[in-house]
Amino acid sequence: MTAATAPAAPRPAPTGRSARRGAAAAALGSGRLLRLELRRNAMLWLLPVVFALFWYNGYREIMALPPMWNLRAMSLQNRLLFDLAVPVTAAAAWMGSREGRRGIADLVAGTARPRWSRQLAGWAATTAWAEAGCLACVAVVYLMTARQASWGGPPWWPAVVSAAGVPMLTAIGFAAGAWFPGRFVTPLATVVVFFGLAFGTQAASGDHSYWQISPLTAGAVDIGAAPGVATFYRYLPDLSIAQVMFTAGLTVAVLGALGISAARMRWLAVVITAVGLTAAGTAVALAGTGRFDPHGMIVIPALHNAASDQPVRYTPACSHTPIPVCVHPAFATFLPAMTAAVGPELTEFAGLPGAPARISQVTAVYRQVSGNGITVSGGGTSAAAFVVPDQVPGWLGTTGGEFAAQLDEGMGIQLASDMILGGDGQQSASGPGQAQLAVIAGSVRFPSSVESRDLAPLYGRLLPQPGIPADRAARRFAALSPAARHAWLAGHLGCGARCTGTGTTTARSRCR
């Protein structure tokens, strides 16, 4: 060791200007400290684990979803914090317990920087890396979706909620480590936080459940990410705002509690903790006032902006089929599948009296019923309007065949029934006759999902039972080509009350 040669200069008393310079120097010192903490932070080592878990659990499932912004963004919110919770909380607990584990507590206790400030530097560095990991995952999903989606732009609230949840995880982990610096605190704190997140998703049920405050809950918990949600109408930020308030409040409360044991700043720490807890508690209470709106999202009256209720303007994407089918551009990816599923019906009925000029998708109407069930309706009774089933190919494992079957059951039967019955079947006390049912059944080619032959939602009747003459007739009719069926219907189908013409006796009366 070498001896120094120059004595230390005396320290001047601070003046006003030097006090300001001192504040700037203190900020610079805090910046250097933060830089040091960033370089040597445990979260940096766990980022590969973050990415691996996200790829394995969340990313593959999200990318398997149809390329719709609402689906992917809401699913991202459902999954991201779940995948991040273990590595992020563990890294934070590890950093928080650092001083105790390394036996450095005495050494740092004798330094001038307040403990709270010192701990905040460590927490901030952990949070910065964790947030970088979170945002990287968001960026990958959003960039990939931007390349694939047919319409719209990223809803930012799901990403904001996930990003706001990261400081909450690090704060809880860091505080647990700082208060209980033992070797078991890291796994225990991680498990407790993970359990809390998992339990929250299991416990939430209904539109006014307090548990929907969980940052893993995107939209209404009983629907979740559905294609019809936040498409025709804006993504409502009400629940997201409450969730951000909750996570931010909890973060502030926990960080404030870290300072309570410091004697000088105790009052300030108590105030900060109280403010944070109040914010979090208010958010939970607000979540409990939620109600399900017809567009599938949660409205929280105190946070709701009526301007969000306006529908989103769009230019529909239409097919080039005999009867054009027009859908919201977000569903344009499915247009080929739709026209393939109901193409025969479109060919069959195009140009016939009473055929719609085009069939347009309308928004689904969601309603909460008893037992926290959800009904999805919409489209009215006209064949000119239809609702695309939420079970689009790729959503929750739905196959193309299942999607086609639902279309047949919805759009196909609606169109066929409207054309054959002209609405008369609904008004008639006796309902549609056997012959009419046979033609309807043949038109939709007995789709497998209609094996129950259930037209009850429309007419209170079933399609012809197997073996009866009407069933045999229906199967002969179904065996014809769409063009042949078109020709037959052109010759036999009366126009009923829709005609402006001749009053000719219609085939409908002959069919009866």
Partner: protein, 172 residues
């Protein structure tokens, strides 16, 4: 968590407790004595083995006892398989990374296991027996994989013990 065995939420919650026990057992594999213990005689491997096996059995028994009288989803076979397999992962981590970081394996696997259970009800299911929490309780493949990992972990901790590094393990 008290539902029928095929209620996936009822299987996910117990898995969290099982992973917590496994993580604690793995961290406990670290010696509080350090190098002097390694300079002792031939009983040390048996001590390590006995400690790991005893703690695993106690954990499984305690979890089963906690569910006594309840129609616990998965039952005792599920508990034993999961605790043993997760502990094996933790012991292997202790050997490679050191006891203070041994929790990384079980807790990372917990997330994968939770997802595996989720896919059982949201296909396509991840059917590999190496993801044994997602397999039915009496599934032989899952039990064999968990047993193999447990045996490997026991062997590693018995023969080599938890890794020790000067100044402790991990960053920070």
């Amino acid at each position: 968590m008290y539902g029928h065995w095929d209620d996936y939420g009822a299987l996910q919650m117990p898995l969290i407790f099982e992973a917590a026990c496994a993580a604690i057992i793995a961290v406990a594999a670290g010696s509080p004595f350090g190098e002097p213990e390694r300079a002792t005689g031939r009983w040390l491997p048996y001590l390590r083995l006995g400690t790991a096996v005893t703690l695993t059995g106690l954990a499984a028994g305690a979890l089963a006892a906690a569910g006594t009288g309840l129609p616990l989803a998965g039952g005792f076979p599920d508990i034993l398989r999961n605790v043993a397999g997760l502990t094996g992962i933790g012991l292997l981590c202790a050997t490679v990374l050191g006891a203070p970081l041994a929790w990384t394996g079980p807790l990372t696997y917990l997330v994968a296991g939770m997802y595996g259970l989720y896919t059982d009800w949201h296909p396509p299911a991840l059917g590999t027996p190496w993801l044994w929490p997602a397999r039915p309780p009496h599934d032989v493949g899952g039990a064999l994989c968990a047993a193999a990992v447990f045996a490997a972990g026991l062997a590693a901790i018995t023969l080599r013990g938890a890794r020790e590094r000067r100044g402790g393990d991990g960053p920070g």
